[in-house]
């Protein structure tokens, strides 16, 4: 079995700086978990602690049920794919992939079998005799993955493997990685700062910030029900709009007062959830995709109001409209055929079924 358990793990450096401030995470066998977050959030440090490349200051990490705190990397039965590939420049692709097995004195036929198999999965069979410097970035990354597959380890660790590739190649390789996982099914821990990679690859996403875990869950859950302001603003591109607002008690219903005199009615099924914030200042959150041109007007909880666009960004399949509201800049996504121009008031429809209220003090999404 190849679960990974992270229990109350802390990573502190000389001088007291804490990169990881006590995190707990249970990763199931065969699961693809993505650690995502901005630079310095502790995701790479956590990965390296799982690998054994960083000392664990406190807490314990267990792989396959066995605590590995004091076990060197080579005995943890893991494989890692690095951002800079870390291929041995003086060895051929075959030798690079075979290195781990050669060190452990596997028989030659077994090595050849495994390398050929991995090369087939990754479609690099024609490259086996080349040296790394004769390969492109994408090919090198595949070789790095091949080196990991060949080892048949309990866990795959990926440290921002796609950051060095250009945008188009990144999209391609993302799919490759997903396919490999579906074929080989090894437990995978994947680190990235790109939330798109996280959303598309993960069974579960772990959002980290400043050394703590903000939220863990399947991508859809993080998208629809973010737990904190940070997660709400991090997941989804373009990011969620946050508008300073005030919750008021109206005649039997809650209302949200936005700047510029816009007043929205809280959907009935949420009145109880937000009741405690009546009379308080909050942040009103709504994603650009839920601020559209007037459509679906027969549905409940659609609010209409007028705002003035400042900048239009035609994307082809939609147009991003940046609107000015007093105290906030809002982004909305409208159908490209809707007539809109900067300076002329535009009618937008807000789908309040997807609204969020955030307590600015605690940062929690209610």
């Amino acid at each position: 079995m190849a679960q990974v358990s992270i229990r109350k793990v802390v990573k502190a450096y000389e001088g007291g700086v804490q990169a990881v401030k006590g995190i707990d995470l249970e990763i199931e066998d065969h699961e693809f978990v993505v650690l995502v977050g901005p630079s310095g959030c502790g995701k790479s440090t956590t990965l390296r602690m799982i690998a054994g490349l960083e000392e664990i200051t406190a807490g314990e990490i267990a792989i396959g049920g066995k605590v590995v705190n004091d076990i060197p990397p080579r005995d943890r039965d893991i494989a890692m794919v690095f951002q800079n590939y870390a291929l041995y420049p003086h060895m051929s692709v075959f030798e690079n992939m075979a290195f781990g097995l050669t060190l452990r004195k596997f028989p030659k036929e077994e090595i050849k079998r495994r390398v050929d198999n991995a090369a087939r999965i990754l479609d690099i069979t024609s490259l086996l005799e080349r040296k790394p410097k004769a390969l492109s970035g994408g090919q090198r990354q595949r070789v790095a993955m091949g080196r990991a597959i060949v080892r048949d380890p309990k866990v795959f660790l990926f440290d921002e493997p796609l950051s060095n590739l250009d945008a188009k190649l990144r999209v391609q390789m993302r799919t490759e990685i997903k396919k490999v996982h579906q074929t080989v099914k090894t437990t995978t821990v994947y680190v990235t700062h790109d939330q798109v990679e996280a959303m598309t690859l993960a069974d579960r996403v772990v959002v980290m910030n400043h050394g703590v875990i903000e939220q863990v869950g399947p991508p859809q859950e993080l998208y629809h029900r973010p737990a904190t302001r940070f997660v709400a603003g991090f997941i989804g591109s373009p990011a969620m709009n946050f508008i300073p607002a005030r919750v008021e008690n109206g005649s039997g219903a809650l209302r949200v007062n936005l700047p510029d005199g816009i007043v929205l009615n809280v959907p009935a099924d949420r009145t109880q959830r937000y009741a405690a914030m009546a009379g308080k200042d909050v942040l009103f959150g709504i994603r650009p995709e839920h601020l559209t041109e007037p459509k679906n007007l027969d549905r409940d909880n659609i609010a209409l109001f007028d705002l003035t666009p400042e900048v239009l960004e035609p994307m082809g399949m939609e147009t991003l409209v940046h609107l000015r509201m007093q105290g906030a800049e809002i982004c909305s996504r409208i159908d490209p055929t809707t007539p809109a121009e900067p300076g002329r008031k535009l009618r937008v429809a807000a789908d309040l079924n997807h609204m969020h209220i955030i307590d600015p003090v605690s940062g929690k999404v209610l």
Partner: protein, 310 residues
């Protein structure tokens, strides 16, 4: 940097019809002029003397007659000179091997330290290289001096009998090697340390995850990555050690009985002290073939390195 040789400078400051001026302003001309002093040094102070040395070596003692390879024949006939050849090779090879090993070991030890501490150790260990060799050899000479030898005093503490450092031919040769290794090992250490630092950390991490022990990491990652620097440094040191003069001159002056002479010191003795310039030139030239072969390998190594920059 890669523009053609006939690029003229901005046209607005070239008067019309001044073709000579235009020629003078051409980038290639300016560039050429800038290298003239260098070519003067190389041509006049290196190439010309080298050719002149070849000519000199074919003359007789008073430089009045051409005697062809006469000087070389006389030298090869002389037992002393044959010993000089042996001594030079023995000295160069032994010293370079020791310097390379010690330098590599020390570089590795330094590399283990946290970066902050490395600096002061590195500073201390490089001191032998910084002191002019003629002067530090004076210190060694004093330490080896038979009546007062401080080294023998230390040996006496361990009940080891006093060593005739400069009196016995073999011990004298070993003394010369000791001084040269003391002087040169720090250089190897510095070069190898720089090479060690240039191996990407992630390769070691990947190797550790792949299952390598420290010895295996050394063998499969460190040494292959350093191979080029190791060979360039060794070859370069071979040239310099082979042509060494300072240490032998100050420590033993070739003695006892000319049994520690190397090419350079013997050439000095024969050419300048004894006044036989052509023969002295011949002695020096003996170094040339070996140095040329080594230089060829150095050049090849350096070129390969710059091509290999990934």
């Amino acid at each position: 940097m890669a523009e053609g040789t006939s690029l003229a400078l901005p046209r607005n400051d070239v008067p019309e019809g001044a073709s000579l001026k235009r020629f003078a302003r051409r980038r290639s001309t300016i560039a050429f002029l800038m290298t003239v002093p260098l070519m003067a040094v190389i041509g006049g102070l290196v190439i010309w003397p080298a050719a002149y040395a070849i000519w000199l070596s074919t003359l007789n003692r008073r430089m009045t007659q051409f005697i062809g390879l006469g000087n070389f024949e006389i030298l090869l006939d002389s037992e002393t000179f044959r010993m000089v050849i042996f001594q030079s090779i023995f000295f160069a090879v032994t010293a370079v091997i020791l310097k390379a090993l010690i330098g590599f070991w020390l570089a590795h030890m330094l590399h283990h330290l946290p970066t902050k501490g490395q600096r002061k150790w590195r500073g201390m260990l490089l001191v032998p290289w910084v002191i002019p060799p003629a002067l530090s050899t004076l210190g060694w000479w004093w330490m080896f001096e038979p009546s007062y030898s401080s080294i023998n005093w230390i040996l006496a503490i361990f009940a080891v009998p006093a060593v005739p450092w400069l009196g016995d031919p073999w011990w004298a040769r070993i003394s010369v090697i000791i001084v040269n290794v003391w002087y040169g090992a720090p250089f190897f250490m510095i070069m190898y340390l720089a090479a060690l630092k240039s191996v990407p950390e992630q390769l070691y991490e990947a190797a550790a995850i792949d299952g390598a022990t420290s010895w295996q990491r050394l063998r499969y990652v460190t040494l292959p990555m350093m191979r080029n620097i190791i060979s360039i440094t060794v070859l370069f040191s071979l040239i310099v050690t082979f042509a060494n003069y300072d240490i032998v001159r100050v420590l033993t002056n070739g003695g006892p009985r000319d049994l520690t002479h190397v090419f350079a010191s013997y050439a000095f003795q024969v050419g300048v002290l004894a006044g036989n310039i052509p023969r002295g030139a011949a002695v020096s030239l003996f170094m040339f073939p070996l140095l040329a072969v080594i230089a060829f390998f150095v050049l090849r190594g350096v070129n390969r390195r710059s091509r290999e920059e990934m």
